[in-house]
């Protein structure tokens, strides 16, 4: 009787196992890499209805973030400014510029200007700006160098592990509360002692309980 299986068939079980391992590994790394918010979310930069530039307003003109995002220290949300805030200056400056027409139209006709949202946490997460700012966590740590952005793009993944990394070890991210909007702030050499002091004085205890963020 002739052999049914050729000799190389002896190696089949090993080969199959190896192939399964390699395929499994690539599947895991594929999901790990391409499904993570670092890949899906970071860099999101929608086209806005007005070509509004943080680079010009926040950097060249040196306007503080809170001039426009004026509720950020007292409320959970950092408000997107109403067009009235823009018109503080633009009633006079470049009032008939082509680029500003959507703002002027919105102001005159009292219809909202529809900015496209950039940062968006899932609805089952509770986030609060005011508590972070009171603890001395700067805008730049969570939003990147917004003052250098022509169009705002998402700089951090806003994933749960990203939140927790900081909540477990906040020391490197703390700064004096009057420096929160300073985009150029760098930790000094004595950051460790400074952070320990600030944590003690302000009673900073970032939550790692599920119910802190999923309430």
């Amino acid at each position: 009787m002739a052999q049914i299986f050729p000799p190389w068939a002896n190696r089949l079980p090993v080969l199959t196992l190896l192939a399964a391992a390699v395929l499994g590994l690539s599947a895991v790394s594929f999901v790990w890499y391409y499904f993570s918010p670092w890949y899906t979310d970071v860099g999101y930069r929608p086209t806005q209805p007005v070509f509004y530039s943080h680079l010009l307003h926040a950097d060249s003109l040196g306007i503080d973030c809170r001039y426009c995002h004026s509720d950020v220290e007292t409320s959970p949300t950092a408000n997107i400014p109403p067009v009235q805030t823009c018109m503080n200056c633009h009633k006079i400056i470049k009032a008939d510029s082509e680029r500003l027409q959507p703002v002027v139209q919105s102001y005159v006709t009292k219809t909202p200007l529809k900015w496209v949202r950039v940062h968006k946490l899932p609805d089952f997460v509770y986030f609060d700006h005011s508590i972070h700012l009171r603890a001395g966590v700067g805008c730049a740590g969570c939003h990147g160098r917004v003052n250098e952005m022509l169009v705002v793009s998402q700089a951090k993944p806003l994933s749960m592990s990203w939140c927790l990394d900081c909540h477990r070890h906040p020391d490197d991210h703390l700064r004096p509360p009057d420096q929160i909007t300073n985009m150029d702030w760098e930790p000094a050499a004595d950051q460790v002692e400074f952070a320990a002091k600030q944590k003690h004085e302000l009673g900073i205890e970032p939550t790692v309980d599920c119910s802190g963020c999923h309430r």
Binding site: S26, P76, I92, I93, P112, D123, D178
Partner: protein
């Protein structure tokens, strides 16, 4: 002499190499800017039927999910009956001349911070009317250290900040009354009119 059919491609090392190279190549795609909305593979309960702040509503005619109080009603704590504090005027409708907030170190510090945020783009950090926006063509504001502004009653300053005056915009919606008074306390210090003794707590 090996024949051509003996040479087989190294399948397994090849697969392993691919498994390493594909993510590495993808490394260039990570964090790259994109105009397309992010795709969430497992959207779960990302979008719940509830309104968040500043969301758009398809129910109300003005498309705003955040509603104003009904006309003629006053929310608790917003009665604002104290004319001196909320309008800068006394019973005779004259401007008040004394700041309702005593100029403690804390108030002055708060005032300085708020001034640098909200007023300095036009009035300049030192209040001399040389802000960055003025350099780009905004009407030149007056110098705070001039005599006419030193003689201006604090109530009139408060009214200017609250309601705006001529080319000066209103800051009613960006600043709470306490902060407006704190800024004015700081202005008095800039003008050199706060007695040094006043700042001691």
């Amino acid at each position: 002499m090996p024949r051509l059919t003996d040479i087989r491609p190294p399948v397994i090392p090849g697969l392993l190499l691919l498994a390493v190279i594909v993510p590495l190549l993808g490394g260039c795609a990570r964090e790259s800017p994109s105009e397309k909305p992010p795709i969430h593979v497992v959207p779960d309960m990302d979008h719940q039927p509830k309104y968040k702040a500043q969301a758009e509503s398809d129910f109300f005619a003005d498309a705003s999910a955040m509603r104003l109080p009904v006309k003629g009603t006053v929310p608790r704590g917003y009665l604002r009956a104290d004319d001196a504090f909320y309008r800068g005027r006394d019973e005779t409708e004259a401007y008040v001349t004394a700041n309702p907030l005593p100029p403690t170190a804390e108030v002055l510090h708060r005032g300085e911070e708020r001034f640098n945020i909200y007023c300095s783009p036009c009035h300049g950090k030192g209040g001399r009317g040389d802000g960055t926006v003025v350099a780009r063509g905004f009407t030149q504001p007056p110098d705070f250290v001039s005599d006419s502004l030193r003689q201006m009653p604090v109530g009139q300053m408060f009214e200017a900040v609250t309601n705006g005056v001529r080319n000066m915009p209103s800051y009613r919606h960006q600043l709470r009354p306490e902060d407006r008074w704190a800024i004015i306390a700081y202005l008095r210090q800039l003008q050199g009119m706060t007695e040094p003794g006043d700042t001691l707590e």
